[in-house]
Structure formats: structure tokens, C-alpha cells
Symmetry: C2
Subunit: 313 residues, 2 copies
């Protein structure tokens, strides 16, 4: 079995090749070519942690992939990253373990950020005066980095609960060529931005319907387990169109779950990402629509990013 | 992260300590102290393979465990074991990977065999003229080995579909002090035996109700996924009492699933293994009862066997 550490994984990572693989993966998923059993979830209440186990096989592939990915939100206080995890590839011919990727959560973070870029290609308005990033952790940095090739906009608003982490975010991101405005008022962020990415593990809504301007696209990547929610149900219900990575997960525990359960989405078109990609159409029809993408994360993304790495080892 | 190979794992294995841990694990499971999300299943039809991913956390434990376990039934033809797999321990405080146990399926095989022994303690009749083993693979050997300390009986009947593998089984097991009769007629086996363990991945029933003598106990460990079945539904329905590792799995895809779905078990007492262990009672009430145990395998067993290994490393 090959064992790869984070440095080796980063060296083998090719963003364009992986982006293409991810698109193919979303399409294969929506075309029912993927065996992807329901996600396993753990909640470690006392340690402020959670964990999910995702696995999938793209039928016909030589390998299947199992991923263990956790978030322990008090880790940073002891100098550890919140997100931890690893991915494994196994032969789909013999079951033998083929590769262990000790990515420390990096591959999950990257494939999530790349999904954000793929979604923005389909949903972002033509004119983006500023990008809004809700949260100021690792995912908040990666999402912004991946949007760099999509838009010429370098004006950023970032929301966080803590002045110090906001300042650190500004410092890091300005070094990459952005102008960063920091705020602890999410409504202020929404007033300035037409492309917003929410990246927190929040369990209470941060953005409300009244905050959002017409023509805004929001990608929500934080809600990936029961109880997490970044957007108020009335905001989700206000979207003109919803894009989901998979309705099964999103309706169960994604960002749209509360609004879905409350029956607020009965007249909202809900489009699966792989379906939109397969059809080659833009999800946004005009510059006044509010579009909203709910990304809970698919195991097929893990399969595809592992394939991208192993192809270059 | 500690990485242990199969040799190191076998060296650190203490059968009595692990048996005790397994009993505690079954009890904790039945007392709802275990987070154990539903098992993930894959089916690799063209390769004649399947895989399950099991994970669990005994609340309060320092670690949680994820196990990937597969059966690829054409592996032996290329000199590989059918069963493959590995187990991993992660910190329940930080999510960091702690240990990778490259056991090649050995720990799964052992904890399954030990569960068979634990069940036999509760269910076996007082007098055992012969032990019946259905199947002649690795699990068929391990189950018999683990019964050695339970009963003085050394008379064995083994059933298989293939003369050559039956002969190999006889050779191996006679070297351990058993007298072995081989047969390709399961009814002949059942006519001689009062303690029967079924260990195959069969998808059609091997034993029928009419084959079984009063006073027989059967432990079925083969059925661990949709479509697998070793015992006819009428045999399952004939049992005076059913012992299950967990009703959730057994009723869904275990040995009793077909009879359960057909509504044949409405008047059969079904007892969870952990409940029986906690109460310290024998499941069998008299020497004429037919008792039947359905073991689909619990992730808490993996947790406990990993703890047993790591405690001695």
C-alpha cells in the first residue's frame, strides 16, 4: 500500500485536472453511475467535534475510496487544524488497500473549494462588485483563492465573530492581491456583495432574507450534518433557484434542510449540480435572480480527487 | 500514527482480554451507549466482491474506530485471501488518526469467531454429539477453534460444495485434534450435529427446517448484506428463540431478514445479544429447544478488538 503524506499530496495536486475530474464525478453521480452509501456521522459533543465517513465507487473504476473527515472546533486553541482526516483507495477487483492519503483534511478542503468554483461558474452574476466570505478559517481562504480565476473582482468582504481571526484573514488574503473589508455584521457584508460563500459550522443562521440584494449568488458549504445552518429558512425560500450537490443529503441535513422540512420550497426549482453540468447550461437566467447552492459534499468528489492524485504519483 | 501489520497485530492479540472486551461492547451497544451509524455497503458484481464500512464510538472512549472489510470470492484463485480489510483508530478529542491496523481482514474474522463462542456459551445444548460447520473457508476454521474451549466435543461434520476444499479443511482441522466427517449434503450434517455454525456467503438457503433436530443451536454468521442467506425462512421461523447482535441489521439484511419480512417471526422471541449478556441468563431453556443466533457483525466489536490490540502495543 502506498502511503502519501500531505506534502506529497500537495505536490501531486493539479488543480485543472482535478476540477475536470470533479465535474465528471458530479455528472456520473447525477446519472446514477456511482455507488455512494449514506454518509456516516458522529457527534462528539463534549469535545466540540464531529466526523463523517464518506465512501463511493464510480462503477467500472479500478478503485473505490473511503474518507474519514472530522472537524474539532477547539483544535486551533492547541495549535491543531480543526479539520482532520484521511482518504483511502481500495481495489475494486480484490478489496486490497492500495493507497493511504494522509492529507490531514486538505483534500476535503480543496475539493470543497473547487466545488465552490464549479458552482460559481454556473450561478455567479455577470457583475460582481465584491465577493463576500462568511467565516475566516481555512475554507474561507480556499474558496476565495479558487474564485480568483473566475472573476476579476478583488474586492472582498469577510464576516467573522472574532476581531483577531478577521485581521489574520485580511493579512493572509491581502498578500494574495485582494482588498479586504472586515465586519462582524453579516448584513453589511451582504449589502456590498453579489457573490457570497458561507463556510462556517454555525448552528444558527448568520444571513437573513432581508440582508440579500437581488442578483446575488450564495454558495453554502458549512452545513454538512444535522443541526448546522448558516442561512435563515426565509432566505433559502427566497432563492429563485436552488442548486444542490445531492437532494438526498441537502434535504436531510444540508443548508436547505430546515426550509425543505417546513415545506417552504415547494415552488422553488431545485437542480442537481451534476444535472446542470451534464446539460451544459447556466443555472442563473438573469441578473436579478437570487441563486443559492447547497454543497453538503459528495463522496464521489473524494473518489475523483484521489484519482487525480494517484494518477500523478 | 502507529501503523501495525498483521504479524504485529497477531502478536498483540490476547483472546481472553478481547473476549471480555467484546462482551462489554455488546452490552454497551444494547444499553445505547454506542454511536454506531448504519453500515455502508458496496457490491462489486463483476468481481464477485462486496465491502462494508463499519464505524462506532463507545461514548466516553478516547478513540473511535472505522473499519473497511471486504470479501472478494474469486481472490483465492489468484492466491489471495477472500477477506481483505483494515481498521483505523481516531482520537475522539481531536479527530487525529492514531493507528492503522493492516490486519488484512484477520481482526474481523477473529471478532466474528469470538462472537460465535460468546453466543455458544448462551445457547449451546448441554450435550453435543458433534459440531457442524457449514463452509470450509477461514471463518469455518476459526469458529471451530474458538469452540474448543467451550465443549469437549471433538467430532466435527463439515459441509462444502467442493471436495478439494473439504479435504483441505479436514487436513487442517484434524491437525488440531478434531475428527472430521466431510459431506456435500447439509441434511446429513444436521442429522448428526447439535451445534451448527454457518459461515458461507451463500445467496440461497443451505439448511432447511426439516433438516434440523430438536435441541440444536445454529449460529449463522454468513449473511451480512442484502441477498445473502444460508438458512431457509421456514428454518428461521421454526426456532424457539432468536438471538441477534442487533435487530436493526438482522431484520434488514441478516439471516433472519427474509423470514422477518415475510411476517413469520411475529410470535418468536427475539433477544439482543447484549441484553442477554447484561442479564447474565442462558438463552436456551431446555434441551429440546431450537435456538438460532444471527450475527451480522457490529462496529462496536471492531472498536473493542482494536482497543484490545492497542492496549498491548
Amino acid at each position: 500500500m502506498k502511503i502519501l503524506n500531505k506534502r506529497q499530496i500537495i505536490e501531486a495536486f493539479d488543480v485543472d485536472a482535478v476540477t475536470l475530474l470533479l465535474k465528471k464525478g458530479f455528472i456520473a453521480y447525477s446519472q446514477r453511475q456511482v455507488q455512494q452509501p449514506p454518509v456516516q456521522h458522529f457527534l462528539f459533543e463534549q469535545a466540540a467535534g464531529d466526523c463523517c465517513i464518506k465512501s463511493a465507487w464510480l462503477e467500472g473504476d479500478e478503485q473505490f475510496v473511503v474518507k474519514v473527515s472530522s472537524g474539532f472546533y477547539r483544535n486551533p486553541a492547541q495549535g491543531l487544524a480543526s479539520n482532520q482526516g484521511l482518504m483511502m483507495a481500495f481495489s475494486a477487483q480484490t478489496g486490497e488497500p492500495q493507497a493511504l492519503l494522509l492529507d490531514e483534511g486538505w483534500l476535503t478542503a480543496l475539493r470543497t473549494a473547487l466545488a465552490g468554483r464549479i458552482v460559481a461558474e454556473l450561478c455567479a452574476p455577470a457583475s460582481i462588485p465584491a465577493i463576500g466570505i462568511v467565516g475566516c478559517g481555512m475554507q474561507a481562504r480556499l474558496q476565495l483563492q479558487q474564485l480568483k480565476s473566475l472573476t476579476a473582482c478583488r474586492e472582498v468582504w469577510v464576516w467573522g465573530r472574532n476581531e483577531e481571526t478577521l485581521q489574520a484573514y485580511r493579512r493572509d488574503v491581502e498578500a494574495e492581491g485582494f482588498r479586504v473589508n472586515i465586519t462582524q455584521d453579516a448584513a453589511e457584508l451582504a449589502a456590498h456583495c453579489r457573490l457570497i460563500v458561507t463556510t462556517t459550522p454555525s448552528r444558527e443562521p448568520i444571513l437573513q432574507a432581508a440582508d440579500i440584494q437581488p442578483g446575488t449568488h450564495i454558495t453554502a458549504v458549512g452545513a454538512d450534518a444535522q443541526g448546522k445552518q448558516e442561512l435563515a429558512a426565509d432566505l433559502v425560500a427566497r432563492a429563485d433557484v436552488l442548486l444542490v450537490d445531492t437532494l438526498a443529503q441537502c434535504a436531510d441535513y444540508g443548508e436547505i434542510a430546515t426550509a425543505y422540512r417546513q415545506g417552504l420550497l415547494k415552488s422553488t426549482p431545485i437542480v442537481e449540480l451534476g444535472t446542470a453540468l451534464a446539460q451544459g447550461i447556466k443555472v442563473r437566467c438573469d441578473d436579478q435572480q437570487i441563486t443559492l447552492a447547497d454543497l453538503t459534499g459528495l463522496a464521489i468528489q473524494d473518489v475523483q480527487i484521489v484519482k487525480g492524485i494517484l494518477a500523478r504519483i
